[in-house]
Symmetry: D2
Subunit: 138 residues, 4 copies
């Protein structure tokens, strides 16, 4: 894909502060940091439309000794197998597990399945990350 | 203040999408939109330190017929008059009021006063906007 | 309006931690803190529909010496006077001003006007707080 | 663990709206929905201290054909193996991959590693979810 090079004008003081911030965060140069800010604003925008082709990651933390819950999460994930791609299960300690569930589909559907996973009785904490298929982001 | 002009390299497809987004939002050019993304990330960063000289706006919505609440909000605002700069009171309808309270001080103090205003019994909804004195942002 | 009293069952450890958090934030009791969490989730939900009757507060920080900008902000506010209720202007220092602009209308319109105010050339930082008319929140 | 049952008083209209929202989200009862709101506010609070024992999930989307990037992400993950627990790799399409990286450690360290992963040259979109070991949440 072609790369466009263009000039931007920004006050010196602002550039200096931005340079310090991005070096702290580990960016190799300004273009890369600005690309990330741009992509972030595009992903936010895309998720405002529930029909957008999107990707999400739902994180849930729960106690695996609650047998009904493990079963319910498993059941939900199979029921929505057209949206759910894959799941990573991590043992946090003797009692607690984390699952990171990757979903791909329309953003509205992802939100719906995320709500069901997060609201399942016994889930201690749950969050949805709204991200992208990467296709629309060069 | 001096303005720095520098080049950035961004894939054509990404630039096209960003141009559409910023024109929808009303930006006059890319530099202005990028400056806003940069400043936003700097303000976020600054607020992570509770000692930062900062500015905040607390919005509270409440029913003014609750006399005790009006009194409590007034009292709190006077008690913290070293942090609270000014307040705008708007009559939303026959019963409901909105107050936008501007605060200036260390970000940790602003957060504390915001918590007290938002938690006051009878406040229906409250939010703190973390912003900046503008001094550090060119 | 009638008040409903109902019981909730929450693990002791969680209640203890919540009690500490809400006392730090200044809540007088659990019901008040829970009401705020509930209202917050309802306001979030309501703003997902662009047709919701809503209220917003836009905060902008800018350098008032930029005459064109003051003029543009004034012009925008008058152009959208059917949505804009009132504005508080605060002098932050010799150069910097803050305006808190209260808007009332459909959430989609509020968002649009907020985008135009925040994107105005010269605005250093801007944020929209999505809140409520209070009518739908007991 | 012992369960505490206590009463809360909330206006009827607010309860009705909350009941509709939580049924839409899939909660089985009010206590479960309130527990989630409570835990969410506790996790937010905990992450304000960079020394908190915490768990995070970093999501990155990137084009796997960028060999250097795959290598860099792998290298970073091994370098921080004391914080990084496990990684799920998903093939989104012919070009794009998603990795969900689970981290466990002090919240300040998790944030640092997340910054490095997200800022790696070629990552199209990245986000950190701040969650919990579950231990402190009943």
């Amino acid at each position: 894909m072609s790369v466009k090079r263009f000039g931007v004008s920004i006050d010196q003081g602002l550039v200096d502060k931005f340079d310090r911030l991005i070096s702290k965060k580990g960016y190799s140069n300004r273009s890369e940091a600005l690309r990330d800010l741009i992509r972030d604003s595009l992903v936010d925008e895309a998720w405002q439309n529930t029909e957008t082709a999107a990707v999400g990651v739902v994180t849930v933390v729960y106690n695996h000794e609650q047998k009904e819950l493990s079963h319910r999460l498993m059941h939900l994930q199979h029921h929505f197998e057209n949206v759910i791609v894959s799941t990573l299960h991590v043992h946090l300690d003797e009692h607690n597990c984390l699952e990171a569930v990757v979903l791909k589909g329309k953003s509205g559907e992802i939100q719906k399945v995320a709500d069901l996973l997060i609201s399942a009785k016994g889930v201690k904490h749950g969050k949805l990350v709204a991200t992208t298929t990467g296709k629309a982001l060069a």
